[in-house]
Symmetry: C2
Subunit: 155 residues, 2 copies
Amino acid sequence: MDDIDRRIVQLLRSQARMSYAELARRVGLTSPSVQERVAKLERNEVITGYRAEINPEAIGLGITALVGIVTTAGAEYSDVADAIQEISEVESCYFMAGQESYLLKVRVGTMAQLEHLVTRLSRLPGVGGTRTTIALSTKWEGRPQPTDPDVPDPV
Amino acid sequence: MDDIDRRIVQLLRSQARMSYAELARRVGLTSPSVQERVAKLERNEVITGYRAEINPEAIGLGITALVGIVTTAGAEYSDVADAIQEISEVESCYFMAGQESYLLKVRVGTMAQLEHLVTRLSRLPGVGGTRTTIALSTKWEGRPQPTDPDVPDPV
DNA sequence: ATGCGCCGGTCGATGTCGTCCATCTGGCGA
DNA sequence: TCGCCAGATGGACGACATCGACCGGCGCAT
């Protein structure tokens, strides 16, 4: 993981469909070298996948909500996570410090679907309660932030 | 936005670097047709970009936290959003219903950086208070969910 | 120092892909 | 019925991906 790797990562982070030839031009190497580096980054799970970013409204998922999950006393955390994973509307799932053990980002098309989803979540074994807040709008999401890990800003 | 478009979107959602030729084979069209459809999807902002998914720890961003922002009375919401947008550590920003007007997902490398970030956020004009919760682990994130079959055509 | 092996780079060749253009077809309105 | 247009096809050509062969620098043991 040197500077060239970091540049490649950053380029692919914002334009994942860029060709190897174009990447090569931008980092000053040849196409096969870049290809090998990218393959290695994928092998080492630095790059874990490539995603097209979709406008959720365009695919009928206009409602975004965040759901906090309070687990019941004695519930096995990982079992709860496994159960949540079965629910496709849950786009992201974080195991949190604090009263709510999990925080989920969910997307649905209608309020009725959201109601149904929250009901399903609250009935999962190990789930003691839910707290849902609706996102009125998404200002931005998944913005790639500048990579500069070799200069860890102090305070 | 027909069934073929939806299949293309779904394919690119999970494998954004797939070639047009491969897409064409999978949806049963020729490469130029697929290319034209993808171009149109991009033009209509159904597809808004292509992102490589990076393991945050590999680029020195091992700490994920969620920060709720309470705005001061009389603050202009959009000004607050603009100010937050200047801060690169904020990966996502949602305008929320509820007491906290904004919810931010932030990533940093160290607790010291998180402290500094929260301090900066709390000092922004219009920001009355913050509530930070740390993600102990990310179970999953940005998982593409199956496209609803009965979608209202947005075009 | 010398020689060896490894890592990572370049180069060249070949098959595939992206992209442009001409052409064709099916549906719709005049 | 005719003409028009959106969208598909097929061919051509330049660019790209990919593979093997080769090459240079580096660390290390002899």
